[in-house]
Amino acid sequence: MASRLHIPTAPYRPGEQPDFSTIKLPKAGELARPDELVAANECSELPFNLLRVLDDNHQATGPWDPQLPAAVLLDGLRYMLLTRLYDERMLRMQRQGKMSFYLKCTGEEAVSVAQCMAVNDGDMLFPTYRQQGLLITRGYPLLDMMCQCLSNAGDKLQGRQLPVMYSSDVHKFFSISGNLGTQFSQAVGWAMAAEYRKTNDIAVAWVGEGTSAEADFHYALTFSSVYRAPVILNVVNNQWAISTHQNVAGGDQNPFAARGIGYGIPGLRVDGNDFLATYAATRWAAQRARTGGGPTLIELYTYRAAPHSTSDDPAKYRPTDEWEHWPLGDPVERLKQHLVALDEWSETDHERMREELEDTVSTIWKEAVSLGTLNEGPHPPDAAMFEHVYKEMPSHLVEQRRQLEGRDERSN
């Protein structure tokens, strides 16, 4: 007898032909743009729609068009392409055994790059491990990123973290935890403190759609709503949480952006592969936060073209060519086409930029490996593991460090 439980599953499994014609894609430019201080109840249709600015002819259209100068768009294209090329190189290096682990964001570059460009440098970013584009956009040195991935002598985090778990206080990029969702509610606290201290900074946080089931997601929505914290809460719906389809997080019931309504938080559901729409939505939310409107929940609707990580094999749970059928395309290609349509860019320009960025990545990579690799070293010193457990090292750690270094007769 069939169970009466609804057990959600993925639409397509290996060997099946993906057909995404069932996904309702509203026309670009159709959606009205309310005032940033609109009440959540007065824009409750937004999370059930899909905000798009780039149309099928690669033109920007409608009231959400952020009308960015071509130079800004070219910056965005450059950061996205650099993110992709960096990812490709790091993946190859992981495959060659230079690092223990890697994790790409292919297909999701617009999320981090456009969102980062839409907020201020003073705004604090609370990322997941798939927003490396934030660091690249904020100008964090690629060398430091690579050294972190290599856990070598140049690793600013002293070899403590798994590759890609970056941190940069200078770039206001919060230390990546690896425990999912914890940073979502922490970001709300950061934003509350920003308000308490009367700064004009906001916090921006990301989780994947799978993590929206964690308690921290709901803590973040509750606390940000209750205290009207200046924070942008982003759910990157890339369809897949390792092998688990977004339907298993409840995505087939209601859009994740609609989770905000119950909390009195406006929800924007955005074509996350549309650079302009992603930028415009983030800008709207940032303006709302900065003018006392409180939080916004943004769902970035996209597709995880990459495996979850180098430890994952997507061929076991989804069609290998599924991304090619994804109706929202490739964010890099779409912004490129837009710039071509504006007559600001050409295929030749693009190839030239790709070659230049590849060269840059290669050159920096050589410098990074000259500082060591995980397998061959040199690494940060072993004794460094005892630092930063506490602000000042307590006596038992001094003692254990002595034991590690064999300077204690009781070492074992």
Binding site: L157, T182, G189, W190, R197, D216, Y219, A220, H388, Y390
Partner: protein
Amino acid sequence: MNAVINLQDDRSERRTAPEGLRPETGSMSMIQALNSAMDVMLEKDPNVVIFGEDVGYFGGVFRCTEGLQQKHGEDRVFDTPIAEGGIVATAIGMGVNGLRPVVEIQFADYIYPAFDQIASELARLRYRSAGQFWSPVTIRTPCGGGIRGGQTHSQTPEALFAHVCGLKTVMPSNPYDAKGLLISAIEDDDPVIFFEPKRLYNGPFDGDPDKPAVSWDNHEKGQVPVGHYRVALGKAETVRAGNDLTILAYGTMVHVALAAAAREGIDAEVIDVRTLAPLDIDTLCESVCRTGRCVIVHEATRHCGYGAELSAQVQEHCFWNLEAPIERVTGWDTPYPHAQEWAYFPGQARVAKALRRTLDA
């Protein structure tokens, strides 16, 4: 960034009062002493904020924050939604952004939803970011039994926190220490889990539930300076010097241990551990090596309880001086019962029996 703004240099307060001028003191319960510690810190450091369930307008279910919102404002002392994980998470974020949050978890029994935020995030933020980010959060939480609270209002889960590297874990046994330790905890740049034995809130308790309750008024440690002072974290205190054996205890059990030793006429040295992590092993071992005998007393369950760590360390450091096996007197390895509370609670009789055994060994 990440600079915690200290508008006042708190070290200037370290000066001692001029001779002949004793700091003004008053008789305080532990509740009043804790309240005074927070009042002093709110006054002293504009980055201190206090929040938790019912702590704002009402002043907390145990009244520890009574009057603080009225005095210091709604943006500094406020109520939160019922979400312990959310309380700690927002505190972490605030701490990263320059504040010095003091949060209350209404009962230690309710702290578990916040455990991930405490153990995986708060405790390790400085470490995983190689010192780039840190958050000086103090988490206050009432713990312990003896109040007919049953299994959800009586736990002392200190061992779970003392086990987590990166945290400091504290449990005072009297009003004077409570205030001084809480001020130290708030001023400390590392996260501190501050356990308050709720049976001691209104008076010392020697483990005999049939005696009438006594207040802190006539207790030496109920005399508390009204202003700012510190009791250092990481320092145990010898509350009774003695020669026959050493009792290691903390929280409510300090009082039970003292009473049990007195009842048996044993010249016990009683040490109040006070800070469980980092542990002041030197004070403990100096005593045990001298007396040669050690009894460890705590309220929490025995298996993997904090006494196991104390016992292991004492054995490592004092083995050749020991004249008897190290004994532990603890709660039984069951959830904290309601009707059977006084059979569960490691009271004077059980402690006395262990003291006698250790002395006779």
